[in-house]
């Protein structure tokens, strides 16, 4: 029975959510908004299995922030406008987009994205009821010539800081900053050479959201690729302690002969680190790289098509050390299906699954109850897509979700591995660019329109 969610307030547009049960906890859901697109760029699942999603809505004016409980009941915090439609030439066709979401143990919600009119990075905090706590711009300088997008956000329970990363426009550097979770005040920021979570997809500025992880000791892990992105790059991660010192900087070199993008990162319960990427000469291959807790390279696995580029943009692990990689078309090949692949702890492929050819990459992947996992993405270019599916790859088939036919089936990607030129493991950022203070003045902004949450 579909669940219909309607939201009104200052918008006459109609919203719909159509859920199809696959049995037990599993379901598929397609969400729509009349007169525009609804796309999910990132999701977070809390310990009670509430799913928090964020992304892009309508004509780029609104950012959707939704909390969906395990039975499909939605609370919408989608009541913010971060600047309206793009009017700044530097933003090109950029719109207000929310890229990333994280939630602390009190249910406070932290969202990062881009303001459409200025191209400035934005960070917002809401309480568990959806009340705005604070919101900040993060952007490079008063002479705003670069689009920035807060592409990754993570709450660190050890020190109570919210960490954000954002690519700095066309420059080969990115910002890593920590904000006080209660006030949004800046604690520290670092500007680093290189690229973080770069998509190699929609356009150069759009970074992929799952680019940070936090472990139980408060170490923050940021996936990384080097500054020569078109010429056969280093890819790996930075492990940063609560004092903001780099503890590990392992990279693999020459994974592919040319383009290389690091896109997502996660940990398992043993402290192993997994980095999802896309890269290669010609059409890009999706790749997952495993490092142990000391930063030593262990293995990589690739997935590719002969006629389209792929990338892994979401990644998670289960308690048995299996790793699940979500992704799809990259480098403009957005219609190249969306995929979820499972590898065991040794890197052996267990299965590959795909959704319809008009789905966009899976951009959210989180473990769920009873051997299930949640995913989120975009269906038919304009509809938000999420679901809960078994981790064993079962329940493939064709499902009717509202007026949509969702096909969940075995994939036919070519699975392999890339031969590395070498690996390096460092405890500093030397040789790969700068890691230093960047001056910063925090700013605030006021949404021009506020809609009432349902």
């Amino acid at each position: 029975m579909p669940t219909i969610v309607s939201r009104g307030a200052m918008s006459a547009r109609a919203f719909g959510a159509f859920r199809t049960s696959l049995g037990a906890v599993n379901f598929l859901e397609v969400r729509t908004v009349s007169g525009g697109s609804l796309q999910y760029n990132n999701s977070f699942v809390d310990s009670a299995y509430n799913t928090y999603v964020t992304g892009y809505e309508g004509n780029g004016t609104f950012i959707p922030i939704e909390k969906i409980n395990s039975t499909g009941v939605t609370t919408s915090f989608s009541n913010r406008v971060t600047g309206g439609a793009s009017t700044n030439s530097c933003c090109q066709n950029f719109s207000s987009i929310s890229s990333c979401v994280d939630v602390d143990s009190s249910g406070n919600i932290y969202v990062g994205g881009t303001a459409g009119d200025t191209g400035r990075g934005t960070v917002q905090a809401y309480d568990s009821s959806g009340n705005l706590l604070w919101q900040k711009y993060i952007y490079p300088g008063s002479d705003q010539t670069y689009v920035t997008c807060v592409a990754g956000i993570k709450y660190n329970p050890v020190n109570g800081y919210v960490y954000v990363v954002t690519q700095i426009g066309t420059s080969s550097s990115f910002l890593f900053a920590a904000l006080n979770a209660s006030t949004g005040a800046l604690v520290l920021n670092r500007k680093m050479s290189g690229y973080v979570g770069l998509s190699g997809a929609d356009n150069y500025y759009y970074s992929v959201s799952n680019n940070m992880a936090v472990d139980s000791s408060g170490y923050v892990y940021v996936c990384y690729c080097g500054s020569t992105v078109y010429t056969g790059d280093n890819v790996g991660y930075l492990k940063i302690d609560t004092g903001f010192s780099i503890q590990q900087f392992p990279v693999v070199t020459g994974l592919f002969a040319s383009s290389q993008y690091a896109q997502c990162i996660t940990l398992d319960s043993s402290g192993n680190v997994y980095v999802g990427t896309c890269g290669g000469s010609g059409y890009l291959k999706a790749c997952v790289i495993k490092f142990d807790s000391s930063g030593t390279y262990l293995w990589n696995a690739t997935a590719s098509l002969a006629s389209a580029s792929l990338g892994f943009q979401a990644i998670t692990t289960d308690s048995s050390g299996n790793v699940y990689c979500g992704g799809g078309g990259s480098a403009g090949n957005l219609g190249a299906n969306s995929y979820i692949l499972k590898f065991d702890s040794s890197g052996t492929i267990q299965y590959q699954r795909q959704f319809n050819s008009d789905t966009w990459p899976i951009r959210g992947l989180n473990m769920g109850p009873s051997n299930s996992m949640y995913f989120s993405g975009t269906f038919a270019s304009t509809k938000a897509f999420l679901g809960n599916i078994p981790t064993d790859g079962s329940k493939t088939g064709t499902y009717t979700v509202g007026s949509n036919s969702v096909i969940y089936s075995a994939g036919s990607l070519t699975i392999g591995s890339a031969t590395l030129v070498g690996t390096t493991l460092s405890t500093s950022f030397s040789g790969a660019g700068s890691y230093g203070d960047a001056s910063y003045t925090s700013g605030t902004f006021t949404p021009t329109v506020s809609r009432t949450a349902i």
Binding site: C90, Q92, I138, Y139, P140, G141, S142, D143, T145, Y146, V147, I168, G169, T170, S171, S173, L175, A177, N189, K191, G200, D202, N203, Y204, Y205, A257, S258, S259, G280, S281, G282, Y283, A306, S307, S309, A331, G332, N333, K342, D344, T348, I349, Q350, Y351, Q352, D392, G393, S394, A410, S412, T414, I415, G416, A438, S439, Y440, T441, G443
Partner: protein, 103 residues
């Protein structure tokens, strides 16, 4: 490890797919005789800017299964599409120099 289901020629199949069909297999993976391992030719070095590497369907030879591939030049139409993709990956132009202040 890539397998083919012999009765239907469904391909590619992986350990997890086979375990769904044989849920009592146990922790150690044992390939049932209804499936066969497929030897897949490794992708060679080639110029990805002008060529693609395409696999043939898997085939049986002397009781073993193989999948081979070949490098071919892109067609003119394919090359146009490929260059469009490269264009989408290119950095957008931005005016000015990189500011040194995060504000």
């Amino acid at each position: 490890m890539i397998y083919i289901k012999l009765s239907t020629l469904e391909y590619p199949r992986h350990q997890g797919d086979i375990r769904l069909e044989y849920p009592d297999m146990g922790e150690e993976f044992v390939l049932p005789n209804t499936y066969a391992f497929v030897h897949v030719e490794k992708t060679p070095e080639y110029d990805g800017t002008t060529s693609v590497f395409e696999y043939s369907p898997p085939f049986e030879q002397d009781g073993q299964w193989f999948q081979r591939g070949q490098v071919r030049l892109r067609t003119e139409e394919e090359q146009i599409e490929f260059e469009k993709m490269l264009d989408r990956m290119r950095p957008l132009e931005a005016k000015g120099t990189e500011p040194d202040v995060i504000g």
